[in-house]
């Protein structure tokens, strides 16, 4: 049955409409999680607010568990769901650059848009920077093309490369996340900064 867009051969306009609606849901969920505040996001790296870890892993796990159940019930064809392609060098180098961007800007591209929409001026600067970054990337792409395409591994799944069944890997990941939630709550107590967190409420 699903993915619906390929099963029912969605016309272009319907694809665009669903993209917009999914975007609304995405923006709504991010804003409700409190991700429209850069100090809340940055709190994760100093331990005083670990909302990011909680929301991020909860979301990934809910989607992961949900998609696997749907696949087992024959409602979702996982072969037709996109799996990110693995370019080893680009993933690591890109990830490190993003890490620096995260701590400097205090947003990620999705949360930046969200914060901009509720009137955060620093988020507007971040989004403007994002456009500049995208422009810089398209202009410098010929220079970094070699690195961007180096060590291509294809759409590898982590459980396959470890030789585990998807269900077993999910269990391990959930166990790790549960431990992380627990540590996160301890950290929030240990590194508490009431002067900041009270400000954010």
């Amino acid at each position: 049955m699903a993915p619906l867009s390929s099963y029912f051969a969605f016309p272009e306009w319907l694809n665009m409409l669903t993209a917009f609606l999914i975007g609304i849901g995405f923006g709504f969920a991010l804003e409700q999680a409190g991700f429209s505040s850069s100090r809340k996001l940055a709190g994760m790296f100093y331990g005083y607010d670990t909302t990011v870890i909680k929301v991020f892993f909860t979301a990934a796990i809910v989607a992961l568990i949900g998609s696997q159940f749907l696949s087992y019930f024959g409602l979702l064809n996982l072969n037709q769901v996109y799996v990110n392609e693995f370019y080893v060098t680009a993933s690591i180098v890109g990830g490190v650059i993003m890490g620096a961007g995260f701590i400097m800007g205090g947003f990620c591209p999705g949360t930046g848009l969200c914060a901009m929409s509720i009137g955060k001026i620093d988020a507007m600067a971040f989004v403007a920077g994002g456009f500049a970054g995208a422009f810089l990337f398209t202009e410098t792409y010929p220079l970094i093309e070699g690195m961007a395409n180096a060590r291509y591994k294809g759409p590898v799944k982590i459980n396959e490369s470890l030789g585990l069944s998807p269900g077993l890997f999910t269990l391990i990941m959930v166990a790790a996340a549960v431990a992380m939630f627990w540590i996160a709550e301890l950290a929030e107590k240990k590194f508490a900064r009431p002067e900041i967190t009270n400000d954010l409420k």
């Binding site: 159940f69 087992y72 019930f73 024959g74």
Partner: protein
């Protein structure tokens, strides 16, 4: 008890998931999970028998003639049934096939019908089903 008291909101959701999974896994009326696995004998050809190979099978053999031709070899030792291919999924027929303790052999005047019926039954999770291949005339 204390555990149940604390975690009661979790239990209904968990039980619902367990029940749905059990229904999906053991449903007799529907196709089973993983089409590739159930089609595998057809890919390696292990589901096809010639007349000579029948003698080597062990267990209670059930030979099903699909269609009206009484084309069953008189010398055949074992149970035989004549089922119209359209009605093979009727409850009584399915029960008979599932209960048979040994190989079930499909035979039709035309290999085509047995092959199609084989794939349907196999995807419903029935193992030990074979096609008797008609020798070319």
């Amino acid at each position: 008890m204390k555990f149940i008291k604390q975690y009661w909101p979790v239990l209904p959701l968990f039980l619902l998931a367990v029940i749905l999974v059990l229904i999906r896994t053991f449903s007799q009326k529907n196709f089973r999970y993983d089409a590739v696995k159930w089609a595998e004998p057809s890919a390696i050809g292990s589901n096809i028998l010639t007349e000579d190979q029948i003698a080597t099978l062990s267990g209670e053999i059930l030979l099903i003639s699909l269609g009206n031709e009484a084309a069953i070899d008189r010398q055949f030792q074992g149970n035989t049934m004549n089922i119209n291919p359209e009605s093979i999924l009727e409850k009584t027929n399915l029960m008979r096939i599932r209960k048979n303790n040994g190989p079930v052999i499909l035979y039709s005047g035309d290999n085509s019908v047995s092959a199609r019926v084989w794939m349907v039954l196999s995807e419903m999770g029935m193992k030990n089903i074979y096609i008797l291949k008609k020798n070319p005339a």
